[in-house]
């Protein structure tokens, strides 16, 4: 038996699994997105029509799709930097030699990640209740007029961002912590001997050394945040005035609430294309200004 053939033989089980459970469903969804599969087609397959790119065309002409996309991009653009900032800040604090009770804080800050999103969303819904919520109670103490957190279209998305950042930052914090602990301490020692301030140490040692971790965390967070669904589903049901409908929420509504699987698949592929493009862009941007050997500029 020659060696390429035996290689394929060994690869075959994995390829079959990949093909059946990954490629085939994706292909089926792609074909589905080119048809108008809906309730009537479910009842009688003769009611199924091949519509080509009709679903995509209709979506691109639907104001709700664009507003859902807008809400999702808003969530990503504001949520990701906030989330990464919070997790990096928390990781730096936990990594600092001055920090006390590190295991306690690490657990406490990681706790929101492991709780169920539905359960905590219900609690946050109470915190943000306009009349009885703690958030407005605190604002009231400070003499600020109460805010209709989840009922005002302008405030609903920021509130959800706040919730999502709180819920997720612990996960990235753990990754950052691991990244920080991998930086050789002698670099800081050398910098201190040279008289570098802690800001300069952060700027010229911590950040460059963390760069691969930062990129990975950024990609993970961006792709996670593009898939915003559970938070608005539980906290606002897409409201008020559909101001928290995300792309995935739209897909859920189309597909599983109204059973328009054709157009729901089209939404899924558009979201996939968007996320793919953004990820490629991020990787490209991070490579810019790098030495060919991969080290920092």
């Amino acid at each position: 038996m020659n060696s390429p053939r035996s290689a394929w033989l060994f690869l075959a089980p994995a390829l079959v699994v990949l093909g059946v459970f990954f490629l085939l469903p994706v292909l089926a969804a792609l074909i589905l997105s080119l048809t108008d599969y809906d309730l009537y087609a479910l009842a009688d397959i003769r009611n199924l029509r091949f519509v080509g790119f009709g679903n995509y065309w209709e979506l691109l002409h639907r104001p709700l799709f664009w507003s859902a996309l807008g809400h999702t991009v808003y969530f990503v653009a504001v949520g990701v930097p906030l989330s990464m900032g919070a997790s990096l800040g928390a990781a730096l604090l936990l990594n600092s030699p001055l920090a006390r009770c590190k295991p306690l804080f690490r657990t406490a800050l990681f706790a929101p990640v492991v709780t169920t999103v539905v359960a905590v969303a219900v609690i946050w819904r109470y915190l943000f209740n306009t009349k009885y919520g703690m958030a407005n109670y605190v604002l009231d103490l400070l003499g600020i007029h109460p805010i209709d957190w989840l009922g005002d279209p302008r405030w609903a998305m920021p509130t959800i961002i706040l919730f999502a950042v709180w819920k997720n930052f612990g996960y990235n914090m753990i990754i950052f912590l691991a990244g920080l602990q991998a930086i050789p301490p002698n670099l800081y020692e050398a910098a201190r001997i040279d008289g570098a301030s802690s800001w300069r140490q952060f700027r010229h040692i911590t950040l460059p050394m963390l760069k691969p971790t930062l990129l990975m965390v950024a990609i993970l967070t961006v792709s996670g945040y593009f898939q915003l669904f559970a938070e608005p589903y539980v906290m606002t049901e897409g409201g008020p005035l559909q101001s928290t409908v995300s792309v995935l929420y739209l897909m859920y509504d189309e597909g599983f609430k109204w059973w328009n699987l054709g157009s729901a698949s089209a939404v899924a592929f558009l979201l996939f294309l968007l996320m793919f493009a953004v990820t490629v862009l991020m990787v490209k941007l991070s490579r810019r200004g790098e030495h060919p050997d991969g080290g920092p500029a």
């Binding site: 309730l39 009537y40 009922g151 606002t236 008020p240 609430k257």
Partner: protein, 438 residues
């Protein structure tokens, strides 16, 4: 009753096991008990209540075992469609009557007229006519009404009296003046709570109009009719005049307590709230609230014919046993028991003649309203159209659209949603009966 039934069942199980074992040993073919196990899907709180009604049924039909699966209301619709797509529908199910047309369009349900004709229990003329009519699609009967649900007014008797009104409103004009008298937005007091993400309230007002909500056999929306605009105008004005807060039910949180505190004098909702108000308000307040039929544009108003029916799935292998269960649940005595357990209103007039319902002053308004209900358009897309209607209405409440713009927008969305239906109707065999459905 439950205590008596339980040991009996396990002893019967033993018995059957013994028969099965000996049957296998003898090489004969004993009937398997699994052949009579019914799968019944119940939705929401009905699923808990029905457990208490089943022992008596199983006692009377020792060859039938009922396996009840409870679906949460929020996931039920999806679960039913998924089950149909996957070929795993139950034998029978509770089914909201706005969902019925959808499953009929899928050819998932068993026609029931022949069984009703031979039934000594289910008598069509004893049921409220409109509720019965929601189960007839294109001239074929697909369900037997189980309980009815129509939205009407809960109101604070004491607050109305204090404001100088002796009776609840009968017309929109009276309603408007009472709402005005009872609202004080500066003090966070409103005449009524109308959650802006629930379509049932606006739909009830819209059904009171002479024009149908869809036209041409359900091919197009009819929301630009004068009647719908009148209903939408009345609804939106209630918010503009600050007689209702523009909040969703997510923010409304606990409307029962707020109703008790007098934040709202009226609450437009369904019969299950009789039970909620009885348990959530203190005993001292129980005489302060009452129910009233919906006011109409000029006189006693029409309400929406909602509720749930019992249906048998076409794929079921135990249709006769399923029908026996439907007959059992349709007996007036059982329906009265069901009402006492849950507060769900029975759909038959004779069920209202006795038991707790006859003397219950809070239920009387529902009895009155039930003679005056109107079904929603029997198209599978209705639920979605009603949702879009409410989304656009919420835009109008927020002042982003005028009444005319909103009506046109709802029509536009309804026509888009109905596009496939038009295509299917135009390509189906010509069916004269279908052309005349409203």
């Amino acid at each position: 009753m439950t205590h008596g039934a339980r040991p009996r069942r396990s002893r019967r199980g033993l018995w059957l096991a013994a028969i099965a074992v000996s049957g296998a040993l003898l090489g004969s073919c004993a009937p398997t008990p699994a052949g009579h196990e019914l799968t019944f899907w119940a939705i929401g709180r009905e699923g808990e209540a029905i457990m208490q009604l089943l022992p008596a049924f199983e006692h009377a039909h020792p060859d039938i075992r009922v396996n009840v699966q409870q679906l949460p209301l929020t996931a039920a619709h999806q679960k039913l469609l998924t089950a149909f797509a996957g070929g795993s529908t139950p034998d029978l199910s509770q089914l909201g009557n706005t969902w019925l047309p959808e499953l009929v369009a899928l050819h998932a349900l068993e026609p029931l007229q022949a069984r009703v004709d031979h039934s000594g229990v289910v008598r069509a003329d004893d049921y409220f006519a409109s509720i019965w009519a929601t189960n007839v699609i294109d001239g074929t009967l697909y369900g037997v009404p189980w309980y009815v649900d129509t939205r009407l007014l809960f109101y604070r008797k004491d607050l109305l009296k204090k404001a100088g009104f002796d009776a609840p409103p009968r017309t929109w004009a009276q309603w408007r003046s009472q709402l005005a008298a009872l609202s004080d937005p500066a003090q966070h007091r409103y005449g009524i709570l109308l959650p802006t993400n629930e379509y049932e309230q606006l739909m009830s007002l819209a059904l009171q109009q002479p024009e149908p909500l869809l036209r041409d056999g359900g091919r197009y929306g009819n929301f630009e009719s004068a009647g719908f605009k009148r209903a939408l105008g009345f609804y939106v004005d209630t918010f503009k005049l600050k007689q209702a807060p523009a909040i969703t039910n997510v923010e409304a949180g606990n409307p029962w307590t707020e109703f008790g505190r007098g934040v709202y004098a009226f609450y437009l909702s369904g019969p299950w709230n009789i039970g909620e108000f009885r348990t959530r308000l203190p005993a001292t307040q129980q005489d302060d609230w009452a129910t009233a039929p919906l006011p109409g544009p000029t006189g006693a108003g029409i309400g929406a014919a909602g509720g749930s029916s019992l249906v048998i799935f076409r794929a079921s292998k135990h249709k006769d046993a399923a029908w026996q269960l439907i007959e059992y649940l349709s007996q007036p005595a059982v329906q009265q028991q069901f009402y006492e357990l849950l507060g769900d209103m029975p759909p038959r007039r004779s069920s209202w003649e006795g038991g707790a319902l006859r003397d219950d002053p809070k239920a009387r308004a529902f009895r009155e309203q039930l003679e005056q209900v109107k079904p929603t358009p029997p198209v599978p897309e209705w639920e979605r159209i009603a949702n879009e209607m409410q989304l656009v209405a919420a835009e109008a409440i927020a002042g982003r659209l005028t009444i005319d713009q909103a009506a046109a927008e709802i029509d536009r969305r309804a026509d888009t949603i109905l596009a496939k239906r038009r295509w299917v109707l135009d390509h189906a065999q010509p069916d004269p009966a279908r052309e005349h459905t409203p």
